[in-house]
Amino acid sequence: MLENHLFSYIFKSRQHPVKIFTYTTSGFWLLLIPLARKLYRLSFDVAEWFRGDWLDIIIISLIFGFAFLRWFFITFSIDDDCIRTGTGYLGLLKSKFNYNNICSVTCSQGPFYRFFGCYKVCIDTNADFMRGHDVTLTLKKSDFRHLTNILKEKNIGKVKYSYTPKRVHLIIFSFLFSSTLSGVILLSTLLIQASRIIGRQLEQKYLTIVNDRIQNFLTINLPPIAVAAASIIVVGWLYSLAVNLLRHWNFTTVRQGDSIIIKSGFITNRESVIMRNKIYSVDIRQNFFMRMFHICSVNIDCAGYGKGRRQIAVLLPVTTNREINNSLKILLPDRINPHNKLKSRFRDFIGFTTPPFLLGISIPILAYILWRIFPEWLVIIRFVAFIAEIPVFWLFVVKFASIFTTGVGFEDGYAVLNYCKLYQFHKVTIPTSQITRIDYYQTIIQKWSKNCSLRIYTYSENVKCHKVKNFPLKQAKKLLESQDYYLDVS
């Protein structure tokens, strides 16, 4: 009876015990494995084992003890109208999250957690907590079921509308939104860490193999470092592609009552429950190729959703321009789709293309200066300059195309902002109540041509700035004044 009470006292209202292991340091395992091996070698003679390795055993016990205390002091309770948590040192920070303030609840279960039957749950409100989620807990299956039942309870019996993208669309989405940078960072980290452990042999071997293989295919003589860098970029991009694909595999969006439930994942299963009235903006994104093929991706801005590392706040991964309005009507029926009232003009193309043009001509000038300083590096400087010109040229093309898409519109309490940020076209629909500030600014050329650009600041979990460029100043002022945004200071 007493044991039952003790067991219930320790484990009730606390996270899954597996969380204790994640609270330990990585050094814990490096110490534990040799110690366990030694104990096995001593045929489980604990006294001898303790005499030989007492310091390591004490350190391990301390690490585990602190992890256990941290786990013990973090408590939670799932009530009918709120979630209460006790976090921080000694669990002294008591918080209460009312369900009507919660914007999103994201649950994920990787293979490790699946093995132990637990779930990672992240809860978010609109409170500004830049470092991460408002609260993150590792829940037992029973607690997780209890929480999801409460969240979904009020929608039971209501009609479900679901959207499942085709597999080929998911592949296209992963292909288009893979970030080379994240992959390269991971690969470089791997190489650096490996070099630290086994010396520079691995790095040199990698560079030699890549160089030999590539030189067999290519007749031109490329510098080995350039070949190695290119290969790292390609492998990094492939890694990012694989991660994206696995993350968004089995993607499904369901609207039921006032919630939107988004499920995805192949190895790690994710499920996000988003409150529909807490979605503050819808962002239809396209790059140049997507625009050419009339496809787009729809992202949403809701506190907590897509907040994790390398996560995208996607509602519809890839859809065609023809299907998008129907899909959004099903998933977000209250959303209005305003049209551009103010558009940029073709004759202002200089305002769009000047930055990439200046960047494009600065590269050869910089390359020339570098060549004069380091004449023996001619081959590598020429190669890097040539490679750097490609994205700049592409940026020029994209910015030129954005002349025909840039615009602003207001309708029935919603604003639409069409603009191009770097290589991506955005069409953001946002309630005007979320707009906190509008600036207009003019460059010297714009002052001369009586044009202006707008900076529109919107607020959700954090402030976002949307830059919409090159409009006739007079028309821009007229449109903004029609919406009670007076920019002139008298």
């Binding site: 009507n100 409170a127 500004d128």
Partner: protein, 147 residues
């Protein structure tokens, strides 16, 4: 409008904590830096200097200047030690409330309320325990009605 001020007991508690910390630093310096006399005395001097500066001058100024006001529509906080600031927050922007009630806080006055809202958070420090409990339940009721 309701007015809250930090508990006087908290000032005494912080002074005691500062004294304990300064004594601990002195003892540690004496044990570990006895062979480096100059460094030891510099550390002890800096530590007691900071302790006296805070305990005698800055903390009383902070406690004297800190006031929390709660009206039907907003919260206002006025505080400062060297630089003084006034903060304003609408009650309608509150999302959730966190409280830190330390052990023996009825005696120490170490009770805190964190008001998490759109755009940031506001911290109410060193409230009396009863006031902290009353205020947190009042603010929580407001958060419940906010969307």
């Amino acid at each position: 409008m309701k007015r809250y001020v930090p508990a006087k007991k908290a000032l005494i508690s912080i002074r005691i904590i500062i004294l304990i910390l300064a004594a601990a630093v002195t003892a540690l310096s004496y044990i570990f830096l006895n062979s480096h006399n100059i460094i030891m005395w510099i550390i002890i001097g800096v530590c007691w200097g900071a302790a006296i500066l805070y305990g005698v001058f800055f903390l009383p100024i902070y406690f004297k200047n800190t006031v929390y006001n709660i009206s039907d529509s907003d919260i206002r906080k006025s505080t400062g030690m060297i630089f003084f600031s006034k903060q304003y927050m609408k009650l309608s922007s509150i999302q959730y409330i966190s409280t830190i009630i330390t052990p023996f806080s009825r005696l120490t006055g170490l009770n805190f309320i964190i008001i998490n809202a759109w755009g940031g958070r506001m911290l109410f420090c060193f409230l009396k325990r009863d006031e902290a409990m009353e205020l947190s339940s009042q603010l929580d009721e407001i958060a419940k009605n906010n969307n």
